[in-house]
Structure formats: C-alpha cells, structure tokens
C-alpha cells in the first residue's frame, strides 16, 4: 500500500505537467501529437515491411520469426542500457530520497516503488514505440487475439528483467564503491552490455535474410530456429511466447510466457533481497560520497601550487579571447567527465555498426539489386543519418549540459550569439570530419570512384555543419539545465523537433543533390553533359541549394537559440 502511495505521488507529478511552466498544455499536446504520429508511422512502416517479408516464398514466415527475435534482442539491449543508467539516479541521487529514507517507510515498499519507477522511467518509451512492430506482425499474419494479448504481456515482463538486474548491480556497486565511482562504472557497464548484445545481434547475421546469394543456407536456419544460440536470453523466451501465438503449430518447450513470468518474478525477488541487504549501507555511502571526494581530491588532484599556476599563466602573455576561453572550458569539462567518455564509446559503437552493416549494402550493389549510382545516394543518406544521430547526442545537449553554472556565461560581456557560434565551430569541425571520413571510406569501398567520393564529401560536410547548428540552436531554444544526463536531455519536445527537422533537412539535401550528381555521373561515365540552359540552371540551383541550405538552416536555428537565451536566461 505504501509502495502504491509513493508511486501515486510520482504519477501526480506527471499529470501535473500540464500545469507546469516548463511544459504547459500546448507543449504537452504538441508532444503527445508528435508521439502519436511517430507511433502510427512505425505501425504503418512495420506493416508494409513485414507484409513484404511474409510474402517472400517459401521462407517469409521464418524470416518474420527471426525478425521478431532480432527486434526483441535489440529491445533487451536498449532496456539494459537505459535501466543501468537510470538505476543509480533512482536509488542513490534522487532529490526526494533523503526525505523518504528518513521516514518510516518499510524497505519492501521503498524497493517496490523505486523498482517500478526505475522500470517505467527507463522503459516506457522503448516499450511503447516497439509495440506497433508487434501489432503489425500480428496483422500481417492474421493472428488471433491470443497473440496480441501475449505480446502485450510479454513486453512488460521482458522490460522488468533488465530493471531487476540493474537494481542488483547498482546495489552491489553502491555497497563497495563511492557514489561517483558507482555512477561511472554503471555508465561503462551499460556501454559494455550494449556492445556484447550487439555482437550477439551480429551473430544472427540479419543481412543473410535479404541477400539472394545467401538464401539457400537460410533454409537450414529453419531447423535451427528452435536451437537459437541466444536461447538463454529473456528476449528468446519472449520471442517463443509470441511465436506460439502467431503459429500455433510451433512446438515450444514448456509454456514460454510462463518461463518469462517466472524468470521476471524470480529476479524481482532476488533484487528485493539484495536491496534489503545492501541499501542502507549503500545509501549511507552515497551520502558520504561528497566528503570522501573532497579528501581524495585534495590529496590526489591538487598537483601545482598557486604561485606556479599564476607564473605559468603570466608567462603566456597577451590576453584571452572569450571564444577561446569557452572552447578551452568545454574541452576541459569534456575530458574530465567520465560520463562523456561513455558517449564516445557509444559513438565508436555507432560507427562500427555503420561500417559493419555496410557489407550488406555492398553485397546488394554487387548483386545488382541497387544500381551503382543508387548506392551513392544510399551512402549519402546513411552518412546523413549518422550525422543526425551524432548531433542529437553531442550538439543538442551542449547548452543544457552547461547546467546551472551557465549563469557565468550569461553574465559575461559577450552576446549569446557569439557563445553559440563558438560552440558551433567547436562541435562542427570534429563532427564534420567524422562524417566525411565515414562517407568517403564507404564510398571508396562501394567503388564509387574519386569524383563521386569527392561529391559525397562535399555534400555531407555542409549538411553536418547545418545539422550541428540546428541541434545546437534547438538545444538552446529548449534547454534543460537541471538534467545532467546527456541522453535524457534530447527526449523532450526540442529533441523530437530536432530529429524531425534533421531528417527533413537530410531528405531535402539528398533530393537536391540528385540532379547535379547524376549529371556529373553521366559526364564521367559517358562524357555527355546535360543539354539545354534550363537543365544547367536547374542543376546549378539544386547544387547551390544542397550546399547552402543546411548552413543557412543551422545559422537560423543558432540565432533563434541565442535570442531565446538572451531573453530568458536560466529560466529558458
């Protein structure tokens, strides 16, 4: 009962969002409408795609089975990462915890309330937006109602398992390490778990299912479905449960949904036991964390005395430029914050996934499914998509991550436009270099030749610069100074607007690049130039548009963001 009472208070904070100054009814309605649009879009896209998959004779149904398994494994990896990251805040850092711990709240009630809060907070979005995929799978298979009831039960049960695992890990780590070290270790563990699960994902080799040269061995996979190498994973139990609803003839070992339920319930029990045994000491240790950090820092980090620091600065002479001072500050903060390193690890993982998965696109090109010039645009689109994803991770949270210390920059005698332009330069340079390197490597790999590779780089660099500006500007327009988790900052209205705007910009740029690039390709292949002034003018304008539009959009977004910061400051 007390657990429900605690959860009710949390529920009220959500329902009161419509009255909040930071959200308000209009913004909340916009967020809900956009969320619904995305949900319906996923449903429509999934129904279309799965319909095509199932229509592939004679293996369509097996491919669907594997796809369900892949999606569930992917969900499990995402849920594990988000639960691990959230667990530390929920159980050690939450602002309401000291007040709760100081009250006569039974340990079981506190555990259940926090466990549910952690699970809901870390999983609702992933589970909610994956639901249309499973709904679509049922549609295309004309599944009975029992299937839909099964996935509706299986998804929350599956989501509860990473929550319990995350609580157990957080409690054990919190018992033996300081609060700060626990947080850092959880971040690293989340990245490692994601990477391991991704390796398992790769072992399933999804490209084999759509590569015509590899379809023959796929029939062998038909017999291997029941003996999947990841059968010990909860995602495989959920897949078994759903599949038994989709194809009643499947011979599942035991009742898979019951297996999932027992697994999830056992883990809740274990997590509760670990919580009761370790939380009081771990929470106490987390409270002492600041004091311990002080003595550690004073002993370990104070390396130079004041006189030598002053002498070194004085010896450099001249005076600092505000832009340089801010860039140096950003660099120092980034390098000293281990939570940012995990962002880098995730970036490396993203790039690896991109490069590895490109083997499929290459094989599709080799087999003639996609024409050679089509590969150029697919390469461009995927490179742009990586740019959109990287910018939402690094550029969008850039202003919000300044946190409540941003008053120092707001108070400085320089316009906010200059501050944001400085950030734009600092971020756009490495991000453009990264995306250009990716696109040029994959372009060479595809055999596009030096000219088309140069065109790809020429197109993607201004696009990344523009996307960086768009992300930075919208991040400044919708800042969340009180959130210190970069991944969570982009989950609001601003982040959704950026993703929507970024993908729109990418689409427009690829469309604008079509005519001039194909003209160039025609000239390279056949030595034929376009005829007629109209084509020249049209092609030229499209080329200028593709190059100039993204920086213009970025510039406009940065201006909007700067104006908003000038007007509202930390209350923005």
């Amino acid at each position: 009962m007390i657990a429900l009472h605690l959860l009710r208070a949390k529920w009220r904070t959500i329902t009161n969002l419509r009255r909040s100054d930071h959200m308000g009814p209009k913004r909340l309605a916009a967020l809900v409408v956009m969320g619904l649009m995305v949900w319906v879009g996923i449903l429509a896209g999934s129904a279309w795609f799965l319909g095509k998959v199932v229509a592939v004779e004679p293996i369509g149904v097996v491919m669907l089975r594997k796809l369900v398994e892949l999606v569930l494994l992917f969900l499990l990896s995402i849920l594990t990462v988000s639960n691990l990251i959230a667990a530390f805040s929920t159980f050690f850092l939450a602002e309401d915890l000291p007040a709760l711990v100081a009250r006569p709240v039974p340990a079981n009630a506190l555990f259940l309330a926090r466990w549910a809060e952690n699970g809901l907070y870390a999983s609702w979005m992933t589970v909610g937006f994956s639901a249309p995929f499973f709904l679509a799978a049922g549609w295309v298979m004309d599944a009975p109602l029992a299937y839909h009831l099964t996935w509706a039960c299986a998804l929350p049960l599956l989501a509860s398992i990473p929550t319990s695992v995350a609580v157990i890990i957080a409690m054990v780590l919190g018992r033996v390490l300081s609060a700060q070290r626990t947080r850092q270790l959880l971040m690293v563990m989340a990245t490692v778990v994601f990477t391991v699960l991704f390796v398992l994902f790769r072992q399933l080799e999804p490209e084999r299912f759509v590569d015509p040269d590899q379809r023959a061995p796929l029939l062998e996979v038909l017999g291997q479905v029941q003996s999947s190498p990841s059968a010990w994973l909860p995602s495989a139990w959920a897949a078994d449960a759903m599949w038994s609803g989709l194809t009643p003839l499947t011979e599942a070992v035991g009742h898979p949904l019951l297996r999932l339920l027992l697994g999830a319930a056992s883990l809740v029990f274990v997590a509760g036991w670990v919580f009761r045994a370790t939380f009081p000491a771990a929470f106490s240790r987390a409270q002492e964390g600041a004091g311990r950090a002080t003595s550690d820092a004073q002993r370990g980090r104070v390396r130079r005395d004041l006189a030598s620091l002053a002498a070194a600065l004085s010896a450099r002479g001249g005076h600092d430029d505000p832009g340089r001072a801010l860039a140096r500050k950003d660099r120092r903060v980034f390098l000293r914050d281990p939570t940012q390193w995990t962002q880098m690890l995730l970036l490396v993982a993203l790039v690896s996934i991109y490069v590895v998965n490109f083997s499929y696109i290459r094989s599709a090109g080799d087999s003639g499914i996609i024409p050679r010039h089509g590969l150029h645009f697919i390469n461009l689109s995927l490179g742009g998509f990586v740019a959109v994803a990287v910018c939402v991770r690094f550029a969008f949270p850039s202003v919000s991550l300044e946190g409540r210390a941003f008053w120092i920059v707001l108070r400085a005698p320089l316009p906010q436009l200059e501050v944001l332009r400085g950030k734009w330069r600092t971020l756009a340079t490495p991000l453009s270099a990264l995306v250009a390197a990716l696109v040029s490597i994959t372009s060479v790999w595809l055999g596009s030749g030096p000219w088309l590779t140069a065109v790809a780089v020429l197109t993607v660099v201004p696009l990344t610069v523009g996307l960086t500006g768009l992300a930075l500007g919208l991040g400044a327009r919708f800042p969340r100074f009180h959130i210190d988790n970069a991944a969570k900052i982009a989950t609001g209205l601003g982040g959704m607007l950026y993703m929507f705007g970024g993908l729109m910009l990418l689409t427009v740029v690829v469309l604008l690049a079509l005519a001039p690039t194909l003209s160039l390709a025609q000239w390279l292949d056949h030595g034929v130039l376009p005829h007629g002034p109209l084509r020249w003018v049209g092609g030229g304008l499209a080329a200028v548009g593709a190059l100039a539009l993204p920086p213009w959009v970025g510039r406009a977004a940065v201006r909007i963001g700067a104006r908003h910061l000038e007007e509202h400051g930390l209350n923005a």
């Binding site: 620091l309 801010l326 903060v333 120092i408 400051g569």
Partner: protein, 257 residues
C-alpha cells in the same frame, strides 16, 4: 550607478515586479530587503542581465541594459544566492575562464587571481576541482571570480548563505572595501544585521513594490519607530504594505532619481 524606472516583470499572469523605480549611487552599499516572493531576486537578475524585464528601463553606469547589455555587463559582477560553478574546472581555471570572458590580459588574471584566491583563503586549493569544494569554499570562489574584472558594480544576492562566521566577516570587509574604492554594491539579504551593518541605504520591497526606501534613520522615521532595529522596521513596514498595497507610493516617489 543604477537607475531603474518603472520596472515591470510578469511571469504569465503573475506580476513579480510592479513598476519599481529607484537608483543606486556610486560608492554606496544599497540594501534590497523583502519577504520571500517580494521580487528581490527577479529584480537583481534583471539588473545583472540574466533575464529581460517585461517593461521599464534599467541603466547601469549610464548604459541602457536593453540597448547596450554588453557594455553594462562589462562593468558589473553578479554573485548569485547559490554558487553553481563548473564542477570539473579547478579554482584557478575558473578565474582563467572569467578573465578570458572579460578579455583581460593573462598577466593581470594571474596576478589578481593569485591575490584574490589568497584573500579568500583558497590558495592551497587553487588546483583542486570545484566539485571537491564545500559550499562555503564555492561561495568564496564566486566572490573571487566576481571581483577579478574589477567591477564598478557588484550585485550580490544573499552573500552570507553557507559561510562560516570567519567567511562572513571577510565578505563584509570586502563589500566595504569595494565602496571605499568607488564601486557600488547592490545587496540583497535576509540577514538584517548584515544589512544594518554594511548598507548606506536600504529599500524594503513587498509584493513587487517598494514599501520604504532610505537610510536607517529615514526608515525609522517612516516606520515611526525611533531607536528600533532594522528587523522591527522591516516587520512593521512589510505588514503595513501587505495590508495596504498603496503603501510605499511615497517611498517610490522619493526613490526616483
């Protein structure tokens, strides 16, 4: 140094500041008192250039804050009630950052930064990360970075929060020294003893309006309580102002430059 005319700030339907007018002279410590929610912090944040007003004008050192915000900020330093700083920078790097934002010569940042850190007893921790500092150490560091660019106006919101008696004494000395050097101090506090001790003139704010303004003697006269403490005057005037919102109109008229 500060001239405020008909200042208005509303958040939606709520009027936080309702037509404030007052001025702060050069070389004086001007106290800004009022109960919670009276509009003190909002007014200070507007004058510090952190938020924009809904109406009225603010001039700092002759610069209109709406038209020349950069020039106004260049001669002003702000000390907020809660010392949020970049946790991953060291104390000396914080000074280096602020020096850079004010385009100060590096040699001057080094010389003055060293002196200020020593003055605020942070010398041994100059190379320590801010995240390892106690609240009081952070508060003293905020004072050090505020004084680095030699501001002509120091805006201080609740200076004594988190300071031990030794730190509080140091801050009071620093505020007086600033005035003796010709700078102005615009100070908000709930600690009546501090206001009574260091302020030349005091404005008492209630519900976004000035309820009373003047020196201690003038306030005593207005409250009709000769010989009383600032705390007694404060309680009397704010109660009167809450009972009659028109109260303070005379003070507001007197406050106008």
């Amino acid at each position: 140094m500060i001239v405020v005319e008909d200042l208005v700030k509303h958040y939606g339907r709520f009027q936080a500041v309702q037509g404030l007018s007052f001025h702060v002279r050069e070389g004086e410590v001007f106290g800004f008192l009022g109960p919670n929610g009276a509009g003190k912090s909002t007014t200070m944040r507007i004058i510090a250039g952190l938020i924009q007003p809904s109406g009225g004008t603010v001039r700092v050192g002759g610069h209109d804050l709406a038209r020349e915000p950069i020039a106004a900020k260049a001669i002003t330093s702000f000390i907020p009630d809660r010392p949020f700083l970049y946790e991953k920078l060291t104390a000396f790097e914080m000074l280096e950052l602020v020096g850079g934002l004010h385009r100060m010569p590096r040699a001057e940042v080094a010389r003055r930064g060293q002196a200020l850190l020593e003055r605020f007893e942070l010398g041994p921790w100059a190379d320590g990360l801010v995240e390892s500092f106690s609240h009081g150490m952070k508060q003293r560091l905020v004072f050090a970075i505020a004084l680095l660019p030699r501001p002509r106006l120091l805006i201080v919101d609740e200076p004594m929060v988190g300071l031990d008696p030794r730190g509080a004494k140091l801050v009071k000395e620093v505020l007086r020294e600033q005035c003796e050097a010709g700078a102005s101090v615009f100070l908000s506090t709930h600690t009546m003893e501090v206001a009574q001790e260091v302020c030349d003139r005091i404005a008492i704010l209630s519900r976004g309006r000035i309820a009373a303004l003047g020196s201690m003697e003038q306030l005593r006269a207005e409250a009709d309580q000769p010989g009383s403490s600032l705390e007694q005057i404060f309680l009397r005037l704010t109660e009167e102002a809450e009972a009659d919102p028109r109260h303070g109109a005379a003070a507001a008229a007197e406050a106008a430059p």
